[in-house]
């Protein structure tokens, strides 16, 4: 009987083909919009994570306990050599680079600014960061101890140009002040305020000498083969490299604002889905009620010949189900077509800054099979659920009353 009801309901939705197609297009458009928005948000999220991790931070970092909170020069990594060796053997690690980090002030001929000084290990830096490709002027470090790379906003603030002399002043490990002159060899742009306005990069050897660290380092930035490796705060990376006074952190702990953004995106999508599908559901209910009212006599006959109310209700719900399946097919086609095009061309928002991250490149929507599956199931389920109310109405129709009214 159920199969026959399925068959009857499928045929019934095509009695008024135009209405079914229009309703299907409305629901399908809603689904396609959700798929596209979700993919765009995923793309934005991926872009944010990429900007946050690939450009400089890395997907994981190791520090001495307390360094991140205080940035104290003396909090260098314990037994750094052993850790570097261990990282070199770690199969989950695609690259790693040690760093020196210190508060400093930089001055040009016209300006003086507080910055964070980064000592860059030239042999490993390119395996983790995008400093090389972030250069908008000049070139990457050649090994000359006088070279300095500035963020473009800092260069603008300092009114410094390529080849200009910059003086860095730092507090050394023993408390004394030290200054050194550098020549601007490159100007970079990462798209984040922290790096573009408040950071300078010099050769690690020069930084070591300037700060008198004698080979000690403050940070090891790590890139994994799979970014998920660093996301779990109790994962293998954190377990393995935390200890001996050091602490290993993944990118969600290092950049919680980016992780929060992912959460915010999920909540925004849920709200949007609620509003959009809420609008759609009333459209479906209206359409199904129209269909039920048009067929009052027919439902009356069905009941008269012995169809139980539950079967009448089931038939209306099954019609809604088929409408959902049809609409989902339309929605998937429209959504996939849009996504396939935009995932190749990207969508440019010009240059906007959001949560400290600059979106100056096109955003590429990320097609997620799981999202497509979930939204499709949700659409079918919701459309079928929208049939419950009209279904109950049809089931409760009094046969003789309905026949009388339909005459």
């Amino acid at each position: 009987m159920f199969l026959r009801l399925m068959s009857i309901s499928w045929r019934s939705i095509w009695r008024n083909g135009r209405r079914t197609v229009i309703t299907g297009l409305a629901i399908g458009l809603g689904l396609a919009s959700m798929l596209f928005t979700d993919a765009l948000m995923q793309g934005m999220g991926s872009h944010m994570i990429q900007v946050a991790t690939d450009s400089w931070m890395g997907q994981g970092q190791i520090h001495r306990n307390g360094f991140l909170e205080t940035k104290k020069l003396e909090l260098t990594i314990n037994a750094a050599a052993g850790l570097l060796e261990q990282l070199a053997q770690d199969t989950t690690v695609a690259g790693f680079t040690p760093r020196i980090i210190s508060p400093a002030s930089v001055s040009s001929a016209r300006e003086l600014k507080p910055v964070t000084l980064y000592g860059v290990d030239l042999s490993t830096d390119t395996t983790v960061t995008m400093l090389n490709s972030a250069l908008v002027q000049g070139q990457y470090f050649s090994g000359d101890s006088m070279e300095i790379v500035l963020g473009d906003e800092l260069a603008r603030d300092l009114k410094a140009r390529m080849g200009d002399i910059i003086v860095i002043t730092v507090a050394q490990l023993d408390g004394g002040l030290a200054s050194s002159m550098y020549s601007v060899s490159g100007i970079c742009r990462f798209g984040t305020q922290d790096l573009d306005r408040y950071a300078v990069f010099i050769n690690a050897g020069s930084a070591d000498a300037l700060l008198n660290l004698q080979g000690r380092i403050h940070e090891i930035a790590v890139r994994f083969h799979d970014i998920e490796t660093g996301t779990d705060s109790t994962g293998a990376f954190q377990q393995t490299y935390t200890g001996g006074g050091n602490r290993a952190l993944g990118w969600p702990q290092l950049a919680p604002q980016v992780d929060s953004m992912k959460g915010m995106i999920k909540i925004s999508m849920a709200i949007m889905a609620f509003i959009l599908f809420g609008m759609v559901i009333f459209g479906i209910i209206n359409s199904l009620f129209m269909s039920v009212y048009e067929r009052m006599f027919e439902f009356a006959i069905m009941k008269a010949v012995g169809t139980r109310p539950g079967s009448v209700a089931s038939m209306v719900v099954l019609e809604a189900f088929w409408l959902g399946v049809f609409s989902t097919c339309i929605g998937l086609l429209m959504g996939l077509a849009t996504l396939l095009i935009t995932s190749k061309t990207g969508i440019s928002f010009g240059e906007i800054e959001f949560s400290g991250i600059v979106f100056d490149r096109p955003i590429y929507p990320v097609i997620s099979m799981s999202s497509m599956f979930v939204y499709s199931l949700f659409t079918i389920f919701l459309t079928a659920a929208a049939g419950i109310f009209p279904g109950i109405h049809a089931a409760r129709l009094n046969p003789s009353e309905s026949m009388r009214r339909s005459m």
Binding site: M1, R4, I8, R11, S12, R15, F297, E298, I301, M302, K303, A304, V305, G306, T307, R308, P309, S311, N398, P399, S400, E401, M403
Partner: protein
């Protein structure tokens, strides 16, 4: 002694839709014995359709009791009544009222599907009854591809295929020309004689009256006369 197929005692029906009571049926006592071929006649507004609906359990009387095949239908729950109609009553309506999305075969098969009869048996009985109404070659057609007379013959087949105790027909010839009406009535009378199934018509069609063996005249919601031929 065989039980009456229909037994109505003191049946009254009053509608109060617009605040003004309308007495559609004003106390009907009525019996229908097995195998009868009876026409319920009367002018428009005399309460024929209302009485037919009440007798079929599609509507509830304001007063009185109805027994169908010996069972008191006023004591049945909605579900019991639904199952009772499915198993004991066949319906034929004025406007054919076949399910437009189902083929002739599927329309005829529908009630047996509700009864849970196995598909082989269903198919056999459908073909048998379609042959009886002369539509065996139209099994795969949709109702809208048939003439009015053919559609009403499908309705007759649908009403009879589950072998009910009683077939109720509400103005079955109202939408048919007289030649087709005559053919349809002759066919129904033949089936009545062959199967012994009881038929009750509500009508004011002369063709039906001519072929009925018993005529119950309804006037102002009351049985005014019963004529046996």
């Amino acid at each position: 002694m065989e039980k009456s197929v229909v037994e109505a005692r003191g049946v009254k029906k009053t509608y109060d839709d617009s605040g003004v009571p309308v007495h559609a049926v004003r106390g009907v006592d009525f019996k229908l014995e097995p195998g009868e071929f009876t026409a319920l006649i009367g002018p428009s507004g005399s309460g024929k359709t209302t009485l037919l609906n009440i007798l079929a359990g599609l509507d509830t009387p304001t007063e009185g009791e109805i027994r169908l095949s010996g069972r008191l239908i006023s004591s049945m729950s909605g579900r019991e009544l639904s199952d009772f109609r499915r198993d004991h009553i066949g319906f034929i309506f004025q406007a054919y009222n076949l399910f437009p999305v189902l083929t002739v075969e599927e329309n005829v098969e529908y009630v047996m599907l509700l009864q849970g009869i196995p598909s082989g048996e269903r198919r056999r009985r459908v073909m048998e009854v379609l042959e009886q109404v002369g539509l065996q070659d139209y099994a795969e057609r949709l109702p809208l591809k048939l003439s009015g007379g053919q559609q009403q013959r499908v309705a007759v087949a649908r009403a009879m295929v589950s072998r009910p105790d009683l077939v109720m027909a509400d103005e079955p010839t109202a939408n048919l020309d007289s030649a087709t009406s005559g053919e349809l009535l002759d066919m129904m009378r033949r089936l009545n004689e062959e199967t012994g199934m009881t038929f009750l018509f509500s009508t004011h069609d002369r063709i039906v009256m001519e072929r009925a063996r018993k005529i119950v005249v309804l006037r102002d919601g009351k049985v005014s006369e019963i004529r046996e031929k």
